[in-house]
Symmetry: C2
Subunit: 536 residues, 2 copies
């Protein structure tokens, strides 16, 4: 099916009155309206002709007060806003809004690290602060605390956490490590959550709740507010850090691998969020790996035989786990002994570990695994993209949650593997392990300049959403294009959750100005746009 | 000032029509309306003549459907409901409602353990399940997982977690260990949060979020819903468990003690929530301790000299810390070495530890510290109450949060010590340590039969609330009588949080049927009752 023009309202220019109001509030240089400048903030992985997620303008407030002004102006002029902190989450649409014609609110100018409390191991940051920025700040000030970072360091610390993003230190569950928010509500008023609701309270960023209901979860994956500052927990620099690996030789080893690691996560022997990678994914980011064409140049996905050959060639496993241990050297050694013992049940499993002095890791950790598990941000993972798709390549990430059980993981894999192979796509999952769950990320690669190929990926995605949901596995985070279909799967009790979310939305945002359609939550006035999306 | 008759509406009998509707929905035996039967569910520590928190009836639904029916009937008849799971939190009012004349919803009949997933270390329970029940169930079924328990085991697992209660294993932050809720909303509809919003999702109780905003925090310390089931995380039975203690000799050692333990919590050497106790509090629960009159029989609080004499006599420290370590024996030993080394900076500190085989702890742990840090529930702490006040004694708990810093702890202590001494009361704090915060619990003891003494404690409490808030320390949980004054301290931004909470309240509960006034959140129709409380 060829690409069709979008069937919902296409982007229109912003009214002059609204543009003037924004410029009066923020200064003219903070309001971008020319098509070229706005186009910088489009979804970089969509086909150039697709305009269904095109914005009409970009505003760039520099303070919470300016964010409040933006929200109030949007209310007066009935403008849909779409906020991004850095807008670098390209596999999920980058900064692109759900509703075409929205005004994007870029928080990149709000880039101050407001506080570092080394004693209590937290920082207070604005949403424009990137993982690189926080890391650099901590290093420059000589703080002996580590921040956590996801695979790519160019994103926003707050934005990633609000989107339920993950990293790989003990603080890898970023959403759970936010503590104390300041939020601009849809009416332009300002809220401080938790202990921050008490003026002068000394525990705002140390204790995650206050008195009465805790609202913080409402502002994550949400259009109920714009977070303008937040506390984020850090970890103390450990005496010793071990970056470890577990490689298993056979495709069939995956369930045993997952089941052997689970007890180590449940009893906190392993404290970080480990990851398990497919050889294609792992090799794609390694030095000296062959190109995809060298691995396999036939039609369709790389066959298992070639995958195994690649693994042997690169001296990696059929499944490759990284994990980390932290503590005194004595504690790390005792933990590592337990890891070795637990993994020894898998024939041929190779368990390795490299120890670093915590204070020296910034200079001594060389590979991306050792770096990211110490919270050192990089852009190394971009290599995977070019390995698959060349310099201009794009991808969609299809990310589902399952319980941390081997049987569930292979069941979900079988469904995906089958469906991707049927579409001629490689299935090279990367898995991120929590204490009781696993996030399985399947990358759908394409060349955005190739409309057919891009459209194929876009058409496949909702099928995968429904197939996996039917088996009990939910997508936890998605591209703007698929928010409605994903939300639709969370339909228990005649869509009880959606009705609840939209009741809150209407109560807090009666004009529907903040991020309409985000995560499938629509304000009353725009509910007719639900499920209205371009046919690809 | 002598006790005055309550100035807000006193309890009225339930209308016959409403009582009939409840009986039709639940069965006549599930609706208690006689004064004697309702009186069983009053605040056990209030003066017998005080009726300002007296209920008009008690209903006892046995299923979520029956809870839905109760809420719908309440909406039709405009009845204020007040829910309790077990209603055992006597220092905070037990099951007593904020608004006199409310109908109490007892969830004690909803007492099923619905599921135990040993592989993923969680249980799914109904709100009537007590810590004793869950523990007994796990033992009876031979599950090798430990639940967490607070100091008294008779409370509800869910109720305690929803009230931000604490325990002493690695899962001691109970509110953070709930995963996946089923909730009856104020309109009688049913909501499942997180992954539970997807029918058949396999990660409901394994992954704490779903897709879009996370509502779970809204139902804690809240009148926005009635939780009818929840997942609660457990810990795997460890190979080795060490119940440890640190005693320091001098009153002035407290800040150094707190500051020495903090790094051990931040780096997760100590994984549980340790506690620090005053000698009076610790001795009160020990075998063979002298009575208070034997310690000191003069007027006013026990002087420091007598406190030190008692500590020497009982062979305990001036401050007594308990903590726990879990893991393989090798990991526990390595951790204990780090604890010893970190605490050695305090002259005279005594660090002790007793190791148990995890599987045998149920039979071998003897004292309450060793038991509760293994999640074994008891009622031993009731002894402290009778030690102070005799069999019929009562107390109010005054519980504030501060950052986990010695300087903050002693600052808060100085304020409290001074004010309690001025009222002739002992100050015998128990402190519960989180990773970055400390909860300081001061017990105000009195004899509920003595109206003057009880009134004195009630009059002192709001003064303490304001004094501590002025210094930056907030009460995290309180007795029904003080919810308004506590909430009032969280007034940043012209009471932005209160306005937000009440906007949600009005949107979700327009008739104000669920727990009006809970935590200072009032529905539109009853806001005139705010701050209306009996003068004591």
């Amino acid at each position: 099916m060829p690409f069709q023009p979008p069937s919902q309202t296409a982007a229109r220019p912003l009214s002059q009155a609204a543009a003037d109001a924004f410029a009066a509030a923020l200064g003219a240089d903070a309001v971008l309206t020319s098509p070229d400048s706005v186009d910088e903030f489009r979804d970089p992985f969509s086909h150039p002709a697709w305009t269904d997620h095109a914005a009409s303008a970009v505003v760039m407030p520099a303070t919470a007060e300016e964010v409040q002004a933006v929200v109030r102006i949007a209310g007066e002029h009935r403008i849909a806003l779409w906020t991004f902190s850095q807008g670098r989450n390209n596999a999920y649409g980058g900064p692109a809004p759900r509703v075409p014609g929205s005004v994007q609110v870029s928080l990149r100018r709000m880039n101050r690290v407001l506080e570092v409390n080394e004693e209590l191991a937290y920082a207070v940051v604005e949403p424009g602060v990137r993982f690189f920025d926080l890391y650099d700040h901590l290093r420059a000030q000589g703080h002996r605390v580590w921040s956590s970072a996801p695979d790519l360091g160019w994103g926003s610390v707050i934005g990633n956490a609000l989107d339920h993003g993950v990293g790989y230190t003990v603080d890898g569950d970023h959403a759970a490590r936010l503590c104390g928010l300041e939020v601009v509500l849809p009416d332009g008023s300002l809220l401080r959550t938790g202990m921050g609701a008490m003026s002068g309270n000394r525990s705002w960023h140390a204790y995650p709740r206050g008195f009465g209901p805790t609202a913080d979860g409402l502002f994550k994956q949400s259009g109920l507010g714009i977070v303008t500052r937040a506390g984020i927990w850090l970890m103390p620099e450990p005496e010793c850090y071990l970056s470890g690996g577990v490689q298993v030789p056979r495709k069939e080893d995956l369930p045993a691998l997952v089941d052997a690691i689970r007890p180590l996560l449940l009893d906190r022997t392993i404290q970080n969020q480990p990851a398990i990678g497919h050889p294609l994914f792992v090799a794609a980011v390694m030095d000296g790996s062959p190109t995809r064409a060298e691995v396999y140049d036939g039609p369709g996905p790389v066959p298992e035989e070639a995958v195994l050959r690649l693994a042997r060639h690169m001296d990696i496993g059929r499944w490759n786990t990284r994990f980390a241990l932290y503590g005194t050297e004595g504690i790390v050694d005792a933990r590592f002994a337990r890891v070795r013992q637990a993994l020894s049940v898998i024939p041929g499993a190779r368990v390795v570990g490299e120890k670093f002095a915590g204070h020296a890791v910034h200079d001594t950790a060389r590979d991306q695994n050792a770096q990211v598990q110490a919270g050192i941000p990089s852009l190394d993972l971009m290599r995977a993209l070019s390995w698959y798709s060349g310099e201009g390549g794009g991808h969609l990430d299809f990310s589902t949650v399952s319980p941390l059980r081997g049987a569930d993981v292979v069941r979900a894999h079988a469904l995906l593997d089958d469906r991707l192979a049927g579409s001629g796509l490689d299935y090279d999952p990367a898995m991120i392990l929590g204490q009781r769950h696993i996030i399985n990320v399947a990358q759908l690669y394409f060349d955005p300049a190739d409309e057919k190929q891009t459209g194929d990926a876009y058409r496949l995605y909702p099928e995968l959403v429904r197939t996996l949901a039917g088996a009990g596995y939910g997508v936890y985070r998605t591209h703007v294009d698929f928010m409605d279909v994903v939300a639709d799967q969370y339909g228990w009790g005649d869509h009880a959750l959606r009705r609840f979310n939209e009741r809150l939305k209407d109560a807090l945002d009666p004009h529907g100005v903040l991020a309409p359609g985000k995560q499938g939550v629509w304000p009353a006035g725009l509910r007719h746009l639900r499920d209205v999306s371009p046919s690809r």
